[in-house]
Symmetry: C2
Subunit: 343 residues, 2 copies
């Protein structure tokens, strides 16, 4: 039945079926790329590992689609090489996110959108479904891989969320080096920001040239469930702005009793409905993983009239995803170990 489910998804992807599933909400599935990787088959573990990633839900232009899909593919490779070898879900989501943070194509880590001051300012979160503990770090200007600091907070801090200079002090005192803020700025974003200045493209007028927030959810062979999200936020945001991404329940949520979620899209709207928690709550009921994802986006669209996307795994590792943006970059590992990616 699960195989049928994945086959059904692939057929839908291949046909680029437009699914207008709910009032005010439409979910898009576009062409999927399937990579049969013999080296990445499931190992005979007590519990089936599972992994899903995303590279942001937005109006991804045709010319960027292949690179976005390739990024998701590489993130899956990084995460799955850990999971398929019996490694931990925490290591897997971190590895997958680091790949996407390091890729300037995505709005996380190096190459993030610049804020109104012309600086990269990043946020990240990782959550443990077993303990409900999160590690979250936000408004970071000197951390190359924000997800590593989020993990450090999860594992070593008495608190669950640190911001700004306090977060960077914590990083430095716990072995995470601080970088020069300029090292995080890509040439493309610098050019975009200078153009925005000419266009008076301030946060008050426009919400930026869209998002490429990244996320990952994994379950490992021991049944541990982790979800994670990382972002550079919106272009020309006001310094100190925090969107949904690093907020527990909004940009990320994980509960081993139900499932784990990573959100992407218009942050302030996602915050309004506390979207990741809403999706996990739907997983507590009768909804399948795909239904829960779709119902969440429908609820989100109905209450906010905005656009977003999400990925999730239910507690058994079944993936789900939905978006009402024109496109979302995402990928997951099918039960046979193959990678399914799509933009």
């Amino acid at each position: 039945m699960i195989a049928d489910f994945f086959q059904a998804i692939r057929v839908r992807c291949a046909l680029s079926i437009f699914c207008d599933l709910f009032v005010n909400s439409c979910i898009f599935f576009s062409s999927a790329h399937v990579d049969k990787s013999p080296a990445l088959c499931h190992s005979p573990n007590p519990m089936k590992a599972s992994l899903i990633v995303h590279g942001g839900a937005w109006d991804i232009p045709d010319k960027a689609a292949e690179a976005c899909q390739s990024g998701c593919q590489r993130a899956l490779t990084a995460g799955w090489s850990i999971l398929s070898d019996g490694g931990s879900a925490l290591d897997a989501v971190e590895a997958a996110i680091v790949v996407l943070e390091n890729d300037p194509l995505f709005d996380a880590g190096y190459g993030s959108h610049l804020n109104l001051d012309g600086r990269v300012e990043c946020d990240a979160i990782v959550m443990d479904g077993a303990t409900l503990r999160a590690g979250s770090a936000a408004a970071l200007q000197r951390i190359r891989n924000p997800i590593r600091l989020a993990r450090k907070i999860l594992e070593t801090c008495p608190h669950m969320m640190l911001v700004s200079e306090g977060a960077e002090r914590y990083a430095k005192s716990h072995g995470i080096p601080l970088c020069d803020p300029k090292e995080l700025i890509s040439e493309a974003e610098w050019q975009a920001w200078q153009q925005c200045k000419k266009d008076k493209h301030a946060a008050a007028n426009h919400r930026g040239h869209e998002q490429g927030t990244v996320g990952a959810v994994a379950i490992d062979s021991r049944g541990a469930l982790f979800a994670a999200t990382s972002t550079g936020g919106t272009c020309c945001k006001l310094p100190g702005r925090i969107g949904d991404s690093p907020l527990i329940g909004c940009g990320c949520y994980a509960d081993s009793e139900a499932g784990g979620v990573s959100s992407t899209g218009y942050g302030e709207a996602i915050m309004k409905v506390v979207m990741a928690k809403a999706a996990v709550d739907l997983l507590r009921g009768e909804s399948s993983s795909m239904q829960a994802a779709q119902e969440t986006i429908a609820l989100f669209a109905k209450r906010t009239q905005a656009t977003a996307g999400l990925i999730l795994l239910d507690r058994d590792g079944n993936p789900g995803f939905a978006f009402n943006t024109p496109r979302m970059a995402y990928g997951y590992v099918a039960p046979d170990g193959s990678f399914v990616t799509a933009v």
Copy 2:
């Protein structure tokens, strides 16, 4: 029936009934003070206004109980003088919170606990149940009344959450003066912090000498619903630490379709279950306002084995409250216009 409900609460309060309502959760009601204030009767408005406030759920010592109760009384007076005159719920929650922020007895604004650096660092949020928009400001060191900045963000900012220096820059550019950080430090907290230094009372060892986070929820005669929370966080917290209070869904949530909530207690545990949103979701079902409050604390206690409290109004203005701490300072306006306060 509502009158019976309030009578029932008062009887329970008067008798100090210990209610062990759910597995792993116990809800305490202690002696309530009822002040019949003839000047504060309901005005004949189209919709009945309603107001509930809290001054924190913790192990309030006997010697502080009267002052905590008096603070709630004054917060009710400030908020209800607006609501009973046909004013707005937003003005009412702001006025109530300002009273509590200005009172050094409570852990919000002036007199907040000091962080590990010996500085006050405050967070506040206010949320509009009609639009689901919030204004949130966190890690503030130079704002006398954080709730005023939260409101400014709600009303004028394209974003919903600003932190640290960026938030203070926004305040300054929008007419909210910055104060000297030392002006926020009370003598009592300075002494306590110095003692904590001697005791190595660092955040890693202890979560502080408890909380007195404050909150308010109001509905006005036009049916507008707002919820708000303000805090100085935990004593000796790491700089940049953000707890539940300013996080949408955790320390505060409001949805005019269901109700509004303000949380108080152990922040990191409240975050785990996204407690305010959980309470509002229960109000969507068959639960009464009191049942929803109690069920939320029961759920919270079951999942986190920690302590917290909350206040709420359902969409019709019926108040609810619950806590599994020894005490919570709270107060609400009964249907006859009298104030019910308790510690």
